[in-house]
């Protein structure tokens, strides 16, 4: 076990890297050099940070259209993400995927899907693979509240529970699917309530409290690796920006202002900083030097991205299959 202070530092640094990365996307997007629809996870940083800290490189995650945070937390280089957003040949998917399809198999990220619900069975498959290869790996399915309405969610829970697969289902319940609120799509039982029907240990928790996520995910992944099967975590959270793009959607009436402000006041980074002054881990010095380091890393990532080469159009048919 790592000492608590190291854990706190790692959690904070991961959240900060996600936060500053997304902010940079917001800042640069109007230049229209990133020609890809960005679904930002500003405000939701605690979830990928709290979950992925428990994962080794060999563990597998599957992500969604809102993929930046998961991939950063799992260890992808900011540079290879930024280059992908710029559509470069040097991007993590050689410019073929864009923002919604980040992948890096070397970091245990087989990929991201923009089809809602698609990530869930894929992660179960990675867990089946781990069980068959008996290699001690776990896998994580990240998905939203909307995805929990898809049939694939039910089919995946059933199969994972049946075979006690080492998979963690992480529902990032930001209470909206595009502009559609939860209550227009689901009865008022909560998403974690679904787990019991499959005998899957399930919990609803504050997704803006990185320590709550950290603890619940740690427990769940411990169980998964011990052969005790899947867990479902419903992490309540809120996205700070609109569904897609670099602006907020509250102005134009997509989500209520009062809820938005209430949730803004619960910033995951600030909460960690404020609630844990006594630990001493997050000292002003640490905060300052981390800000600087992250800022430099992001500068470099986006500068490189900006100046990297585009794919060669004559190669458009490459990578369709292994034959070409």
């Amino acid at each position: 076990m790592k000492p608590v202070s190291e854990i706190l530092i790692e959690l904070y640094r991961t959240m900060l890297r996600i936060r500053r990365f997304e902010e940079r996307v917001v800042a640069l997007y109007p230049e229209q050099q990133m020609k890809t629809p960005v679904h930002l996870c500003l405000g939701q940083e605690a979830i990928p940070a709290g979950v992925c800290i428990h994962l080794g490189r060999e563990d597998q995650i599957f992500s969604t259209h809102r993929s930046h945070g998961h991939c950063i937390a799992k260890g992808m280089s900011l540079k290879s993400i930024a280059m992908e957003l710029y559509g470069r040949e040097t991007g993590c998917c050689r410019g073929r995927g864009g923002s919604m399809h980040l992948a890096d198999p070397e970091q245990g990220i087989p990929g991201s899907t923009a089809i809602v619900g698609g990530s869930i069975p894929l992660a179960v498959g990675a867990a089946l693979s781990a069980k068959m290869q008996d290699n001690g790996r776990a896998s994580v399915a990240f998905f939203g509240d909307g995805a929990s309405e898809e049939g694939s969610f039910h089919e995946s829970l059933n199969f994972a529970a049946l075979h006690h697969l080492p998979v963690l289902f992480v529902c990032e319940n930001n209470q909206y699917a595009t502009s559609s609120r939860l209550a227009a799509r689901q009865p008022d039982t909560g998403i974690a309530a679904k787990g019991a029907g499959y005998g899957i240990p399930s919990r609803e928790l504050d997704g803006n409290d990185v320590l709550a996520v950290y603890r619940a995910a740690g427990e769940a992944l411990g169980r998964a690796r011990a052969g005790k099967g899947p867990t479902l975590l419903e992490c309540r959270t809120w996205r700070w920006m609109g569904h897609v793009g670099p602006t907020c959607d509250v102005e134009n009436g997509c989500r209520p202002r009062d809820m938005h402000e209430e949730w803004l006041s619960r910033c995951p980074l600030e909460q960690l900083r404020i609630r844990l002054p006594e630990s001493g881990a997050l000292s002003p010095d640490f905060l300052e030097s981390t800000e600087l380091a992250v800022c430099l890393e992001i500068d470099s990532a986006f500068n490189t991205a900006r100046h990297s080469p585009d794919p060669d159009p004559s190669q458009i048919l490459r990578y369709v299959d292994g034959r070409g």
Binding site: G98, S99, G151, L317, V320
Partner: protein, 346 residues
């Protein structure tokens, strides 16, 4: 029945695409769709709309704006993210007296509902010996560009054109967007309306009163004598640009807009190729087993003797849509490809 007696637009002859010359009220493609939905809701209590985010401030790229306010949330209904189940729900409602219009923001979400569409909706009337029909209309929009990438810019009409029992239309103009949508709802047949996001801002004179364009009837968008250019949806636009350019070089191209890919207006295709002797088909989708292949087969079966040059297809590249803008440029063919292709035939 509210639909009987509505004027059917029987035109199959030449009509200039997006003509400003014509007198009358102009509407965008988007507003033409909205007007069709509004009139259908207003006229027929059996009609209701259902779709993800249908009542939100975006209103499905503007095509449903204001309708939830006007008709209430039961007749203009948001839905969970559950495309196959909700297609079944809409189908069940259609079998029991309603006329639902199910709306998807992207064609790419239709594969999720393929079981209900292919195995249930398309076959139900036949399986029940004609006793139970499924008057369900499904709208889905093809996206394109800005890195929409592999899962957000498909144009899968060929998959549905293959299936007996389905109607599949692809309006290329505002007038057709209204007329075909109303035509599908009125028909009582399970229908798919595949729209194209890049046509949404296009303007044309559109009749204000309800009118029906019957699925299965193509249109000559421009008359010509040297070559027949066949297209659907956004491709029609590229073909018309190409025809104009070819005209400046003394080549007379006839442009057909299929409008429906199922039923297919075989007679129109055959009569045109008999006139010109050359044929190029442009599609917004892939080549293999696509609608361009079907047109080739129709010609080869029924006008083989008339074809004086090799048949040509101009389709999107045979790969998933790439994200990068430079690759997107290579992915989508355009007017220049058509011009080059036609010159190669003459």
């Amino acid at each position: 029945m509210p639909w009987t007696g509505i004027q059917a637009d029987g035109r199959r002859d030449c009509e200039v695409y997006g003509a400003d010359g014509e007198a009358g009220r102009q509407l965008t493609y988007r507003d033409a769709i909205r007007e069709a939905l509004d009139q259908a809701l207003g006229m027929d209590p059996r009609v209701f709309l259902i779709g993800e985010g249908i009542d939100d401030p975006g209103g499905v790229f503007g095509s449903t704006l204001g309708l939830a306010e006007k008709y209430g949330s039961l007749r203009v209904m948001d839905m969970p993210l559950a495309e196959n189940g909700l297609t079944g729900v809409a189908a069940g409602a259609a079998m029991t007296g309603m006329r639902p219009v199910l709306i998807h923001m992207r064609v790419d979400f239709l594969p999720m509902a393929m079981d209900q569409i292919v195995n249930h909706v398309a076959k139900w009337r036949y399986m029940t010996g004609g006793k139970v029909s499924v008057p369900l209309t499904i709208r889905a929009i093809t996206g394109r560009g800005w890195g929409s990438a592999a899962q957000h810019s498909q144009s899968l009409h060929a998959l549905f054109a293959h299936i007996p029992g389905l109607t599949v239309v692809m309006p290329a103009s505002p007038r057709d967007a209204k007329g075909l949508l109303m035509g599908c709802i009125a028909s009582g047949e399970p229908s798919l309306v595949i729209e194209h996001r890049w046509l949404y801002d296009l303007k044309e004179v559109v009749p204000e009163e309800p009118f029906l364009v019957p699925p299965g009837v193509g249109l000559i968008r421009r008359e010509g004598t040297d070559v027949t250019l066949v297209g659907v949806s956004h491709a029609v636009y590229d073909l018309l640009l190409a025809a104009e350019q070819l005209a400046t070089e003394g080549i007379s191209a006839e442009v057909l807009d299929l409008r429906s890919v199922r039923p297919l207006d075989e007679a129109l295709i055959i009569s045109s190729v008999r006139k010109t002797g050359r044929m190029v088909v442009m599609d917004t989708g892939w080549k293999r087993c696509g609608i361009s292949a079907e047109v080739a087969a129709v010609v080869s079966e029924s006008a083989h003797d008339a074809l004086r040059a090799p048949f040509r297809r101009i389709c999107i590249a045979e790969c998933p849509a790439p994200a990068s803008a430079v690759l997107e440029d290579a992915y989508y063919p355009g007017c220049a490809d058509v011009v080059a292709c036609v010159k190669g035939l003459l």
